[in-house]
């Protein structure tokens, strides 16, 4: 068992090195003065020059703002639809078409994005044609189509999170509420939702990240003038490294790291408080 443990522990360490060296190198070279990014210009570095350039970069900033808006809207939409789907699959008994729903909600988890992107674009084109023929309305792809597309494939993740949370949820709480006279809808909103709120929130964050980060599907369904941040980044890095992108990456890594550490600290504190209360209850 000892040698076994040593091997896997070494691999764990190597794995973490593998995971973090690229990120750390990106952060490191964002302070490098040289435009070549990885050639360290010791004369003029470290510098915050690229961060200043980033704040001046209108294209990046407006794309970031667009991405945030789209991500927030699609995360909210995904949470509503995904929670409903998760509820249906976890709580409702068998009904006609259940298997299809189950399939539709898990397929996006693995579906290659080019397929999803292409199919959504063709749908929007067909809808455009239909609307034009029926109502003479001209419809351009843009923020709305991107949001709809993002909702459609991120809701699968929310469904999985909510469904698995509900599966391990003690449904005697819901039964107790029903027994006390609450209608099923009331039970859902007053009892179930507050108790699975952490799962719903993490589903929201997950959907936000996936939408914020998405490139391929967005490229297919976006219209002229609606450039999201990933699209801007991609077009820049195709041509090679770009120090402004390093600066942007560092800021994002910082935000994420703060968020994760903050949530870990909060959870630890809540856990400690709960343990203390349980101990007091058992003693007294």
């Amino acid at each position: 068992m000892k040698t076994q443990g040593l091997f896997s522990k070494t691999m764990l360490g190597a794995g973490f090195v593998f995971l973090y060296v690229p990120i750390l190198s990106m952060v490191f070279y964002s302070f490098n003065n040289s435009r070549l990014v990885t050639v360290w210009d010791s004369a003029n570095s470290p510098t915050l020059k690229w961060y200043a350039k980033l704040l001046d970069d209108g294209q990046v900033l407006s794309a970031a703002w667009l991405s945030i808006r789209v991500a927030a809207m699609s995360a909210s939409g995904a949470v509503i639809l995904g929670t409903l789907a998760g509820l249906v699959l976890a709580r409702f008994g068998p009904f006609k078409g259940r298997a299809l729903l189950q399939g539709l909600t898990t397929a996006p988890l693995v579906m290659p994005e080019v397929i999803t992107g292409l199919s959504m674009l063709l749908l929007f084109v067909s809808l455009e044609q239909l609307l034009q023929k029926v109502a003479g309305v001209q419809f351009d792809r843009g923020v709305i189509t991107i949001t709809i597309a993002h909702i459609s494939f991120t809701m699968a993740y929310v469904t999985v999170v909510v469904q698995s949370r509900l599966a391990s949820f003690d449904d005697s709480l819901e039964e107790a509420a029903l027994d006390l006279g609450a209608r099923p809808a009331k039970v859902f909103f007053r009892i179930t939702v507050p108790l699975i709120l952490p799962a719903i929130l993490s589903g929201w964050l997950l959907a936000f990240t996936l939408s914020w980060d998405d490139l391929v599907v967005t490229q297919f369904v976006s219209g002229p003038g609606s450039n999201t941040l990933p699209m801007v980044i991609f077009s820049r890095v195709r041509l090679g490294v770009s120090p402004v992108v390093n600066a942007l990456a560092t800021i994002m890594v910082l935000i994420v790291a703060c968020g994760v550490i903050l949530s870990a600290v909060l959870m630890r504190r809540q856990e400690r408080r709960r343990k203390r209360e349980e101990q007091m209850a058992a003693a007294g």
Binding site: L19, I151, V216, V245, N246, V260
Partner: protein, 333 residues
């Protein structure tokens, strides 16, 4: 508020005649009543996500299928001839061309791309498994306090942008990049290694990006193992290696399958990583689809590629869903 449909079911002759009748026989009050009676409660809850998914996920695939059989019209807007067309005589003309599919299966560019894509995805999955399994094992066997920290460290990169993480490897792998700098610094090499725009770079990119997807299902499976089984095996004379091979490995099989599928299936259709890190002389299939669509504007062919990819992946996808369901059922108990 009770809706009495009786008031509206009388024939109300008026200036609009049949239209009036139609509106009041089947008009809003009747509809509302129908909706309220048949679609209340559970059905409504099921219907909302269901309809959304049908419209925005299933129907698009059907449209792609339809267009894959269409005839390419380079100058058309959209660039394909209609598949279904109502002719003047009232008949429906359906034109299905399989030319696109034939092309896909014969054109050397595509054939080599199919093979290359599957090869890359397969070996990436194997490499990911070889790195991810020991990591998941180590995390599952560590003490609870460390476990949460490790999991957080695994998930943290996932929350940062996928695109940016792939970009990071450009900085590492290119000729004047970090790795070459370090190797030159230590005198290990004289000439820089050419690592960018190779299959090697794609393997690294895929393993790097998809590692959390391999580790998490494996961890979730390994964590549930009953360690007393291993103790029993030891007691019966099996050394640590044998116990691992005979007890842990078979029990972790569902996790291995789930993780591998979570990596393999999207890797086949991966676009970003080969675009940024991969070869320009041998493209993966997603790139071909994108080029067909955006460069050649050949929608039918692009659709055919998509359908062919779906057919290729449908068995692994169903396998994945099967394992996903089993996991959920197990959680219910």
């Amino acid at each position: 508020m009770k809706i009495t449909a009786a008031r509206y079911s009388r024939e109300a002759p008026g200036r609009l005649g049949p239209l009036w009748t139609f509106l009041f026989r089947y008009g809003p009050p009747r509809w509302t009543e129908y909706v309220l009676r048949n679609w209340s409660g559970q059905r409504l809850v099921i219907a909302v996500p269901y309809l959304w998914l049908l419209l925005f996920f299933l129907v698009p695939f059907l449209i792609v299928l339809k267009i894959s059989f269409a005839e390419f019209e380079p100058l058309g807007r959209p660039p394909y001839a209609p598949v279904f067309q109502w002719l003047d005589e009232g008949a429906l003309q359906i034109k299905l061309l399989v030319g696109s599919y034939v092309y896909l299966l014969n054109e050397p560019l595509y054939v080599s791309s199919w093979i290359y894509s599957i090869k890359v995805a397969f070996f990436s999955t194997v490499l990911c498994l070889m790195l991810g399994y020991p990591m998941a094992y180590a995390i599952a066997r560590s003490s609870p306090t460390y476990r949460n920290v490790f999991l957080m460290l695994i998930i943290l990169p996932f929350w940062t942008s996928f695109l940016l993480r792939v970009y990071a490897w450009i900085g590492l792998l290119k000729t004047d990049g970090v790795i070459n700098n370090v190797l030159k610094f230590f005198g290990i090499i004289d000439e820089p290694l050419s690592m960018m725009n190779t299959s090697f770079a794609v393997y690294i990119g895929i393993v790097y990006s998809y590692l959390p997807f391999m580790i998490l299902p494996l961890y979730s499976n390994l964590e549930k193992h009953d360690l007393t089984l291993l103790e029993a095996a030891n007691d019966l004379g099996a050394g640590p290696v044998k116990a691992f091979l005979r007890v842990t490995l078979p029990l972790s099989f569902p996790g291995v399958v789930a993780g591998s599928l979570l990596v393999f299936i999207p890797a086949v259709g991966e676009y970003v990583i080969p675009s940024l890190l991969g070869r320009s002389d041998q493209l993966m299939i997603a790139r071909l689809l994108s080029d067909e669509f955006f460069l050649n504007r050949d929608w039918p062919k692009a659709s055919a590629v998509a359908i062919a990819m779906l057919l290729l992946l449908v068995v692994p996808i169903m396998l994945f869903q099967h394992f996903q369901n089993k996991e959920l059922q197990a959680q219910k108990k």
